[in-house]
Structure formats: structure tokens, C-alpha cells
Point group: C2
């Protein structure tokens, strides 16, 4: 899954309706990670320091407040999600570490890998025990299902990137599983913490799913548009990793066969920077950028529609603003 770290300023106004609750959440979360083992304590402090933007707890809180009154179970829902998210980040570090280490495996790196795997498992078990203690089985089920979808989605993407054949339908299935699943778990269990009404829960769950799809399409698009944070040049990171995402999938489908084969040859052999430039041009020329923008907007519209039956409120405005934020962000 992509790590979603939007810029601080743009989220401030979205956070407004639940500022106090997010502050309280920080304390609850810290408490949930506590351990007698000094090494565990050290690492959890490290995790707390680089805490990111707390987007997932934000979605939990806003969904909860939209459907009712935030209560203790809302904090547990947010804690479960954030423990799970921290676990996957820590596990991702194992992978990234191997990737960037580039052939240099020091004893320290090995130690780091082992600790990362163990810490991930530790955080996960803390989340499970918390939910079991309070009989939060609905939360557990929703998040376990998200973990299954996330891992299956990522594995399907790896499989497809090796085969280099992927159509739009498969692409949507992959990003739905690997990314949208966790967004929809956030909004689902947030709602479930404050309402018993199945329709409300389902609407919030669908909101999360659609906003997640829009998010990932935008994320994949930024690989072709360039990100603000890295001087605005398209990096083509996905291309180099042989990941076929929507802009390229669409362009391959639209272009003549000769050009499409050339593009695939570049991807297959491991594209260099000048091949990336060629592929980005190829995608642009064949309408891949515009099509992806349009698709992201479609899912964004679906997400907004899920909220239409709720009366207006600061929470609703924030959730609507979040949709816009997701499809307009440049980093």
C-alpha cells in the first residue's frame, strides 16, 4: 500500500470538528503500545515521534461523529486501526530496507529486520487483545478482512507485474484490495462505534472504499505528473518497478500495437530515465492522464453521493473536503 502522508496545512481545517478527540486519541494510543520490555518501549517511542498525519484515526473520528456521539469504543476503533497501520508500516520497513540497502547487509541491518518483523507482530497482537478484551468483534472482523484484502491485493499486483498483463478491471480490483480496504475499514468501524443502523454503516463503508480508490488513482497518477515534494519531475518509480497503473494501462489500450509493444519492451527490460520520459510522453499523447483524472473524479463523486442523505454538519463538510483533498493533492 502507498504511505499516505499529506501535507500538514491542508488537513488542518478538515480536522477541526474532531481536534479535541484526536488529541485525546494520542494519549490512548500511547497507552495501548506500552510494554515492560525496554527495547519495545524504545521502538514505540520512535513510532510515536514520527507519527505522521493520523489520517486513519481522523477518518474513524469523523465517521463516528457523523453517525452519533463519539464514545470509548470509537477510541478503541481508532487505536485498533492505528496499531494495525503501524504494524504494516513497520513490516514495510523490512522490505524497503532490503531494497535500499543495495547489497550491504551489516549485522545491524539484520538485527533491524528481525526487530521490525517482531515489532509488527507485537503491535498487531496488542490490537487484537484490545478488541477481544472489550468484545469489539465487529471492529476485529472488519479490520481482519482489510488485512486479508491488503495482502492479497499486494500479492496480486506483484504477480501481475511479473506477467506484465493487466487490464483496467484487474487494476481496480488490485487498488481496491490493497488501498481502499483500509480506508473503508476506518469509516466502517468509525460509524459502527456510534450507530447500530446498518444503512448508515454501509454508506460510510462505501464512502471509504470510493475515497480510497480515488486516492490510489491519484497516487498512481502523481507518478506521471510529478510530485511537488520532489521538484515536480515525473519519477516513473512505478514504471521502474514494472507496475502497470491506470495511466499506462489506458494508453496501452488506446495506442497502436507497434507503440504499445515498444512501451512494454521498455518496462520489461527495466526502464532507464530516458525510457521513462518516452513512456510518460506516450501516456500523455494517448490520453492516459486525462482518463485517470476522470476516473478519480468518478470515484470521488461516488464517495460524495454516499454522504448525501446525511444532514449537513461540520463533520459532513470535513468528509466532503477530504474527498477534494484526495483528488487534488500534488504530493
Amino acid at each position: 500500500m502507498s504511505i499516505f502522508r499529506p501535507s500538514e496545512s491542508s488537513l488542518d481545517s478538515i480536522r477541526e470538528p474532531v481536534t479535541q478527540e484526536l488529541k485525546k486519541f494520542d494519549g490512548v494510543f500511547r497507552e495501548a503500545m506500552r510494554s515492560q520490555v525496554a527495547l519495545v518501549y524504545l521502538i514505540t517511542r520512535y513510532i510515536l515521534r514520527q507519527k505522521g498525519k493520523r489520517v486513519r484515526p481522523l477518518l474513524v473520528m469523523l465517521s463516528a461523529k457523523l453517525c452519533g456521539e463519539i464514545n470509548d469504543s470509537t477510541y478503541r476503533a481508532a487505536t485498533l486501526i492505528e496499531l494495525l497501520h503501524s504494524a504494516t508500516l513497520v513490516h514495510d520497513d523490512v522490505v524497503d530496507d532490503a531494497d535500499t540497502r543495495r547489497g550491504f547487509a551489516s549485522i545491524n541491518a539484520v538485527w533491524k529486520n528481525k526487530v521490525a518483523v517482531l515489532m509488527g507482530d507485537y503491535l498487531l497482537s496488542r490490537g487484537l487483545l484490545l478488541s477481544l478484551q472489550y468484545h469489539d468483534y465487529y471492529f476485529l472482523n472488519s479490520t481482519s478482512f482489510a488485512v486479508k484484502r491488503m495482502s492479497e491485493g499486494e500479492l496480486l499486483q506483484i504477480q501481475k507485474s511479473r506477467q506484465l498483463n493487466i487490464d483496467e478491471e484487474t487494476y481496480i480490483k488490485i487498488i481496491s484490495d490493497k488501498t481502499a480496504s483500509l480506508f473503508s475499514a476506518c469509516t466502517d468501524i468509525g460509524a459502527a462505534s456510534t450507530t447500530e443502523v446498518p444503512e448508515k454503516r454501509n454508506l460510510l463503508k462505501a464512502y471509504g472504499e470510493n475515497v480510497g480508490l480515488a486516492f490510489q488513482i491519484r497516487d498512481d497518477l502523481l507518478d506521471y505528473l510529478g510530485r511537488k515534494s520532489i521538484l515536480g519531475k515525473p519519477t516513473g518509480g512505478d514504471i521502474k518497478e514494472k507496475k502497470l497503473t491506470l495511466p499506462l494501462i489506458y494508453a496501452l489500450h488506446q495506442s497502436d500495437r507497434h507503440e504499445a509493444q515498444q512501451a512494454l519492451r521498455f518496462v520489461k527490460k527495466g526502464a532507464k530515465q530516458k525510457d521513462v520520459t518516452w513512456i510518460v510522453d506516450f501516456v500523455r499523447k494517448n490520453g492516459g492522464i486525462e482518463y485517470s483524472l476522470q476516473k478519480a473524479e468518478e470515484f470521488a463523486a461516488n464517495a460524495r453521493a454516499c454522504l448525501s442523505s446525511f444532514p449537513d454538519s461540520p463533520e459532513k463538510q470535513s468528509l466532503l473536503q477530504f474527498v477534494r483533498f484526495v483528488i487534488e493533492r500534488n504530493s
Copy 2:
């Protein structure tokens, strides 16, 4: 945690009372890992091929049969444990891979790491969803607690191996958490699948904890005695990894200060083969081997005592035989 793979022949007679049930379990377990994603399917087939000795399902089945009639929930208990165990093995591969790769990180190795982490998470989520589907909350709680203890125990051991100060009490705490926890989860949920009587569950749980402690002490001892499978020479693997285990801890405590400091210097600088020989001699001379044998026997006696109130049966005989097997094994 150590990977427990006893030799096939010695377990055959222990398995006898539940041979049919273990056969049926194989089918249930295969079914539980099923996935539509071809890559996942491939890896699960790989896991099924190198299936090991199924010691954990064996303990679940024997404990269940000792307390009542094996039923569907017993198979689910065994499946949860084996999914969890497979997940930790797959995650361990990440670590081992980094360790043995020795500075060579091919794209393939990176891909392997990523897939290993994802597969571990996938297997775990399947276990969770299975238990949630059938409301097996007792199983879930017991195994989640075991995961917490396993990861904390391993992390404490890593922390202590960096500090090189560890007393017997801390050692027992570490092996109890990292190894005995999963044994006791097996026997606990096995019993829970066939009896509601808390005393029976607690006795089986305590049996698992004690047999797990005896197992790990024997395992650590084999590092000093030499293992049959590797030509009988003490490998000193733990020493080289700076792990202080019971034989050395005891010897350090018994010897004069000068010798103890010499031993610690060897461990600290990263012991070579001739240092290992010196340390093994040092341990022998100071009674570390005998003391560890005696400690393993103590925990084995505790384990046996947990079974004394149960009437005699083939299952009881197998569980008693298992205790003996654990403390006598040479590989």
C-alpha cells in the same frame, strides 16, 4: 522461537491415538489457506509441501481428546494455531534470508522478502477471520496473547544479548514468553474445544507451558552437547549470536570472576570456533550441562504432574511420552 522439527520415527507412536484426526486436519488446513490469487496459491502449496511434523496440531488434538470428544471446533483450533505458526515461519524467513544472503541483495531476494511479509500477514488474517466467523473468541484470545508473548520474549532476548547481562530468572522469562507461550496456547485451546471445565483447561495449559520450557532448555543445551543431525559437534550457534542461555548463565555464576570475564570477552568480541571450544569446556567444567539437564527434568516433572488427575488413556500416555521425547531428543 526455535523451529521444532523432531525426527519422524520418534513421533509416530505419540501420534497413534489421533492418526485419523491428523489426516482429516490436513484437508481442513489446506482448505483454510485457499485463495483466488495464483501467486498466493503457489506459495500455500509450497508451505503445504514442507509441512513439517505438525507438532502443534498434534498437541491440540491430544489435549482435546484427553478432555472430551474431538469436534469441528477442535479442527478450527488446530487450524488457527497452524496458520499462525506458518505465518511466523514465513516471517522468520525474512530475517533468515537477510542473514544468509551475506551482502548480496538481488531483485529476487527483495521480491522474496516482500512476498514473505505479505504472505505472513495473509495467513494471519485467514486465521483471524476463521475464528471470528465461528465466534471462537476463547481461541483468539489465547493465541493473540501467545503472539504478544512470543514477540516480546524475542525482543527481550535481543535486548539482553546486546547488553550481555542476563540472570536465570530473566532467561526463564524469555523462554517462557518466546517458546512456552505457543505450546501452552495449543494445549489450552485444544482442551477448550472439548471441555468447559476451567480446571481441566488450566491443567492442560500448565502442561503446555512446562513442556515448552523443558523443550527450550533442551534446545539451548543441544547447542553445547552437539546435535545428532550435524555430526555431533557443539556448534555454539547461540554463543556466536551472543545469546546467553542457561548452561552458560549457570557456569558464569559458578566460576571465578577472572574466568567469567574471559568467557564474556569471547562472547562480546564475536566468538570464533576455538573460542567456542573454550567456552563449551568452561561450561562443562562449571556444571552448566548438568544443571540444565536437571532444570529440564524439573519442568518435565511439572508437566507430568499436570496430567496426574486424568484417568489413564492412550491420549494421556502420548502426552507423557511427548514429555520424555522433548527432554531426550538429540536433534
